[in-house]
Amino acid sequence: MNSVPDKRNVVLSFSGVSKSFGDTRVIDDFSLDIFDGEFITLLGSSGCGKTTLLRIAAGFEDPSGGEILVDGEPITKMPPDKRPSNMVFQNYALFPHMTVAENVAYGPRLHGLGKQEIEDKVRSALEMVDLDGRSELSVLSLSGGQRQRVAIARALVNEPRILLLDEPLGALDLKLRRHMQMELRKIQENIGTTFIYVTHDQEEALTMSHRIVVMEEGRAMQIGTPDEVYARPANTFVARFIGESNLLPGRVVDAIDGETYRVHMDGQEDSLRCGYFGRESMQIGEETQVCFRPEELRIEPADGHGLRGRVLSRTLNGPQARYEISLETGGSLQANTPRGEVYRTEQTVTVNVPADVGVIVRDEI
């Protein structure tokens, strides 16, 4: 990886940004520092405010409160044509009456560059997205993936400090989307421009980003690297939203340090060491939930050590099989096993719950 975000250098800041449409509060006191050269993803389901946040950064929406800063200078009142950012729109918003080259040249022409310089820039921007042979075509004759590339070239040709991408791969089919994820990541590494990427697709977020902002109801539920939000969810929402999770009830019995607690879980004799990465500290004796990923749990025969339960179903998922287990203590969970280990439906099994992998999560309001 060539470009590593420079943590000493904050490019863009959201500082206490709020946004309401009528009575509906879409963004609620949102703060975030984005570093130079970072690929950061705003991840959330539709209506979580991620696109609004991006549009506020681009200057298409005014925040109801708070400031947007670039290099420490407020730009909240700056119109979009003056901002150091460019946007890749969800449906590309290519100008249908222009050729590929004219679309890309639109920005440079407005900035009053010389003819030769514009030509050079357009050519290298199109080379970057592998479209240099198609510059004279009408954008209407391009496929979805090609339109996508034109949109990227059209934005990047202006050498923005920040590139804003609003679900840019949403309109592509799965295969092309995968391919474009790699391409985008490669482009970002090569040019080192800060990317702010909006998506509802967690897999996309996990594969592409340096950091992910998991959003819900206009707030950041967790900000962290893909590994952090996956392995160390800060609350129930993130645990449920990212990947698949089993949330098992338990009680906090001992504090080891601020990030490690012992939890006693129903149906277990010994208490278990679990991590905790939430905002507020845990109280001893508190009833809580512990998050386990299906691949962290192991199914063993009935005489094994762990939670006892009964097999409800098995679904094959490539090299692994997914079991749904109904627990004797109530509730159910999902666990993965290698394909070869087969248990019958209704068979009694134990689910081995290892120490040091569970994460305590609480509902965060």
């Binding site: 389901s45 681009a58 200057g59 298409f60 929406e61 005014d62 909240t76 009142k77 700056m78 119109p79 979009p80 044509d81 003056k82 901002r83 950012s85 460019n86 946007m87 729109f89 969800q90 449906n91 590309y92 918003a93 290519l94 100008f95 249908p96 009456h97 639109y106 920005g107 407005l110 900035h111 209407l140 979805g144 339109r147 059209r154 934005a155 202006n158 949403g170 309109a171 592509l172 089919d173 799965l174 509802h200 697709d201 967690q202 897999e203 996309e204 939203f241």
Partner: protein, 596 residues
């Protein structure tokens, strides 16, 4: 430094852009109509409207003579509208469901007839078909079936109704076809699959889905037929009078504006009352139908199925029959729509001075005759200049308004749109006599300016409609993209929005020009002593049989067809654009449900 959304907010005051249009409609449509209403309450003396209040005009207008004429007019209008709607539905249905890809092409021909076929030429065509020395009579006498001309063919309500149906049928076909396009063919198949026959499918599945299109086709043709005064004048004669005709004469030779105004007002009131009656009747009819339906014994649902082999045969035959029937209907309809206009063209080259059969010989001297008349050339030039003014004026007024109306949060948006569309809803005769009355009240002579004012007003709804439709299809992200790439608001408009609506604007301009060139109903009142081309031709027709009329009519047809042909080419350009721009959005919505 004003932020982008702040400029949007001030643009919520974009309502100001609609102000010229509101002002224009208030000044040149609402104002004149008020003058007309005032005139209807004033005395006329020695061809002059005085300041004295009187109800005498209404005593006349509500007198037994005028009222019986009003009732006849409304009856004829309703009958013609019913015929237009049913025939139009039959034609549109056949074109939509039995013709495959050819359906749209047929409809393009119908639209071309409507827009490029010239109203006046179409009315005139029937006067030359039905007249005592017209094609039907001369042909029948030539073969020896009759000895003297059949009088009922001409100068009577029969001729009026036939001509009205002919002239206004395309106005019914087009909206109904558009409505039927929204009816999914699979719903018809589903209905048949569930056991409904052809009629049941038609009345329970097709008609309910296209109800609003049928209703608007009826309403439109009803207003147009009731308010037509050229048709009864040219083919109705003494026995085929309609109220509009009598009212219009008060603004012509009789020069009793007050009485004419009162008649025009009662005509409008009558049309409105007719709508109320028709509406109530249809509600009653529906209620009665529901009652009958509720009482009817339900014997039909468990109808025994016929043997499958027999059913397949009958279905095959039925499909063949409906295919043939559909083609026959469309063919007959096209012949009905096209042949009269073609006859005018044919007779313009006939050396005999009478438009009768058999044809004598081929000549072009009617054309040279007509072109040689200075008044014809004057009228032609006048028409072209008025059309040009109408194009410029209506675009200048309606284009900003279309942008104002783009904002869904615009206050009084519906009212503003309504004002813009008013000139197309108000019957032409009422608009014409209102403008004439207003000019009279101001002491202004009618002429080119008054006609240009009228045609600008009539062009506004066209421009507004076409440009708004285009703006709706424009992705608002395009302007945002331009702003994002560094364009100022003004630059984004000139470099993105304007080029993208240019084709629509061109189409609108051509349509306005065609409407202006073709208009005789309004211009007949507003041109005074300087007639436009159709008004001049109308004068020639009124003076009696004159073979030069055919030639003049064909020349006008040629100009109109040229303009409309261009307009059609233009719309094909926009359609191609829109379809392709639409595709990524369409696939975008497909992938919504994925992931997580």
């Amino acid at each position: 430094m004003a932020s982008y959304s702040a400029t949007l907010k001030t643009s919520r005051k974009r309502g100001l852009l609609a102000l010229p249009m509101i002002g224009y409609i208030a000044l040149f449509l609402v104002g004149p109509v008020l003058v007309l209403a005032a005139y209807s309450l004033l005395e006329s003396e020695y061809f002059q409207v005085t300041g004295t209040f009187t109800l005498a005009n209404y005593q006349y207008a509500f007198g037994s003579e005028a009222i019986s004429l009003l009732l006849k007019t409304l009856g004829i209008g309703a009958l013609a509208a019913v015929l237009c709607t049913t025939l139009g539905f039959t034609f549109a249905y056949a074109a939509r469901f039995f013709l495959g890809r050819w359906g749209t092409r047929v409809i393009v021909v119908v639209a071309f007839m409507l827009l490029g076929g010239s109203y006046l030429v179409r009315v005139f065509a029937w006067s030359s078909i039905l007249g005592t020395e017209g094609i039907v009579n001369t042909a029948l006498m030539g073969i020896g079936i009759i000895n003297s001309p059949l009088q009922f063919l001409f100068f009577g309500y029969f001729a009026v109704i036939v001509t009205l149906v002919y002239v206004y049928l395309p106005f019914a076909i087009l909206p109904i076809y558009a409505g039927l396009q929204g009816v999914d063919e699979e719903t018809l198949e589903a209905s048949r699959d569930l056991g409904a026959g052809f009629w049941r499918t038609l009345t329970r599945v097709v008609v309910p889905q296209s109800r609003s299109a049928i209703a608007s086709a009826f309403a439109f043709t009803y207003i147009l037929c009731c308010a037509d005064y050229i048709t009864p004048r040219l083919v109705g004669g003494i026995k085929g009078q309609m109220l509009g005709n009598v009212a219009s004469l008060q603004f012509g030779g009789a020069a009793n504006y007050s009485r004419g105004a009162a008649l025009a007002v009662t005509l409008v009131l009558g049309i409105v009352a007719g709508f109320v009656v028709i509406y109530l009747a249809s509600r009653l009819f529906e209620a009665a139908g529901r009652l009958l339906h509720a009482r009817a014994p339900r014997r039909e649902s468990p109808r025994p199925r016929r043997g499958s082999s027999r059913k397949m045969v009958s279905q095959h035959a039925e499909r063949l029959i409906s295919k043939i029937a559909g083609r026959v209907i469309v063919l007959v309809g096209l012949v009905f729509l096209l042949v009269p206009a073609i006859l005018v063209i044919v007779f313009s080259f006939n050396s005999a001075p009478i438009s009768g059969l058999p044809l004598k010989g081929l000549t072009t001297h009617w054309y040279s005759d007509v072109v040689a008349i200075p008044a014809f050339r004057d009228a032609f030039v006048r028409s072209l200049s008025i059309a040009l003014i109408a194009v410029i004026g209506s675009i200048a007024i309606a284009l900003p308004a279309a942008f104002a109306l783009r904002d869904p949060r615009l206050k009084f948006g519906r009212f503003i749109a309504g004002a813009g569309y008013a000139p197309i809803i108000i019957p032409g005769i009422v608009f014409g006599v209102s403008l004439l009355s207003a000019a009279d009240a101001m002491g202004v002579d009618p002429g080119i300016s008054l006609t240009a004012i009228a045609h600008i007003a009539m062009g506004i709804p066209l421009v507004l409609f076409i440009v708004r439709a285009r703006l709706v299809s424009l992705d608002s992200a395009l302007v945002e993209a331009a702003r994002d790439l560094g364009a100022s608001g003004r630059k984004a408009f000139t470099s993105i929005v304007l080029p993208l609506i240019a084709v629509s604007l061109g189409t609108a301009a051509l349509l306005v020009a065609a409407f202006s060139l073709d208009d005789v109903i309004v211009a007949n009142f507003t041109t005074g002593t300087s007639p436009t081309l159709p008004v001049w031709i109308l004068g020639l027709i009124k003076r009696g049989i004159d073979p030069r009329v055919n030639a003049a009519a064909v020349l006008m047809l040629a100009v109109l067809s040229l303009i409309i042909g261009l307009a059609f080419l233009f719309t094909r350009l926009t359609n191609r654009d829109e379809v392709k721009i639409g595709t990524p959005t369409a696939t975008g919505t497909n992938s919504q449900g994925r992931s997580q």
